[in-house]
């Protein structure tokens, strides 16, 4: 465990020493600040609409940070050959996969907390309303969703050596699931066999990341989700990430170390 946490520490240090992270963060913060503070004729619908855009921006920024950080981890180790002195120590490739995952997940989690904290301050100051438990559920479910995205990107990074192609494919895949995932079963119903079974198969195999999108809790001030449901969603993300990390390790196990 010491090795995995040590490796994750290096990933986190790398993230906060990179300039692109700050550019994205400042951009998101600025847009949130501007959109959160302007008022259009005191219309609650417009305020909700702006909140929706701000939260969508946070989702996009978090996805970009998670995929860009993860996609370059293993290829950069191989390209810069830092993997050699690392694996010359009592470090296995499984340690590398687990350490990279943990580092990227923690780093994304920290970025997420900062984003939501900033949004909560801007939104709370304006509405004088602080639904802290709703925020806790949003952040936790969002973070669980990022675990699946990060493990998926990590798997992509050992199959595709170019981080840009891996990042693009993962982003398209994740956005596709977020937009279409919940409708696939309805689409299947309208199709003849065997297309119907095929679409159902896809529906049951893909990770349902759309379940973790609970922004409405803040936008429409919905009631809290049952904590047991949150725990089940967390378990689902945990199991899915586990399978993807296992796949990453199997693909990386016998891969040549140099690119």
């Amino acid at each position: 465990m010491n090795i995995v946490t040590a490796l994750s520490g290096v990933v986190i240090k790398e993230l906060y020493r990179r300039k692109d992270f700050y550019v994205l963060f400042i951009l998101t913060a600025l847009i949130t600040l501007v959109m959160g503070s302007i008022s259009f004729f005191n219309d609650a619908r417009i305020a909700r609409y702006l909140k929706e855009i701000c939260l969508m921006l946070i989702w996009i920024s978090a996805l970009v940070i998670a995929t860009t950080t993860t996609a370059r981890q293993i290829p950069a180790e191989r390209e810069n050959r830092t993997i050699f002195p690392l694996l010359a120590k009592p470090v296995t490739r499984w340690h590398v996969v687990a350490g990279k995952f943990l580092g990227c997940w923690l780093a994304s989690g920290m970025a997420l907390v900062v984003f939501y904290f900033f949004f909560a301050v801007v939104s709370g100051t304006r509405d004088s309303h602080w639904p802290l438990l709703q925020y806790a559920q949003i952040v936790l479910l969002h973070w669980a969703m990022l675990a699946v995205v990060i493990s998926l990107t990590l798997l992509g990074s050992v199959i595709l050596s170019a981080p840009s192609s891996n990042m693009t494919i993962c982003l398209v895949f994740v956005l596709g699931i977020l937009l279409l995932g919940r409708h696939l079963n309805q689409v299947a119903l309208e199709q003849p066999e065997p297309i119907r079974s095929l679409i159902y198969l896809v529906y049951y195999v893909i990770p349902h990341l759309e379940w973790y999108d609970v922004r409405d809790l803040i936008i429409y001030e919905h009631k809290l989700i049952a904590w047991s449901d949150c725990a089940l969603a967390g378990l689902y993300a945990f199991v899915y990430s586990g399978f993807l990390l296992m796949g990453t390790w199997l693909a990386f196990r016998r891969k040549p170390l140099h690119l």
Partner: protein, 250 residues
Amino acid sequence: MEPILETNGLRVEYRVQNGQGPKVAVRDLNLAVYPGEVFGFLGPNGAGKTTTMNVLLGFVIATGGSARLFGVDVREPIARQRIGYLPELTYYYKFLTVEELLRFYARVFGLSRDEADRRIDGLLKLVELEHARKRPIKTYSKGMQQRVGLAQALINNPDLLILDEPTSGLDPLGRMKVREIIQRLKREGKTVFFSSHELGEVETVCDRVAIINEGELKVVGRVSELVESHQANLEQIFLSMIGYKPEPVV
């Protein structure tokens, strides 16, 4: 005495892209390195030195034969608990400072914080990088980066050091410093296994040498005995072992 490093009938084959049969990089290599000796592993470029080192470090899986460190199969991560490795070029996280890098490797070896602090201070003193301990590695010169490499290879106080051309690309002063460190380690009873093209340096530092060419072990023995038996210096022995024939002067 049990060897610290041992290969028996080691064979490494690579698949070749153009559809021809596999290329043999190392064939039936038998080596044994004993505790406390400095062992030079020599050969021209492409002879199989780095491939052999890669097998010993677990980077490449051998096609046949066996390789053991401290009696443990090299495929087991625990075999690398007591070794230090210095790669030919400096491959480190350049956004970290040398202190952070050494602390990271100390954590990998499970050293306590106090022990890590003590070793980091000692190593930075040994490689003369105390003044630059808070600077990112990317700001270091090549010689300084090579010394970072030596410091990281020694963080676990290893019993066996594997050095891949440790003086490659260094200026004479840098080479001298690396040589002094190797000699100091030898006095401390450490075992050093290193590859080099600098035959003069090998002659000065090594107890025994092995010469490899086209993946085959050509000769192995004490430097003084080889020089005496061949009635030639190490460079002449090396050239004759790799089949070099000088052009006749017209």
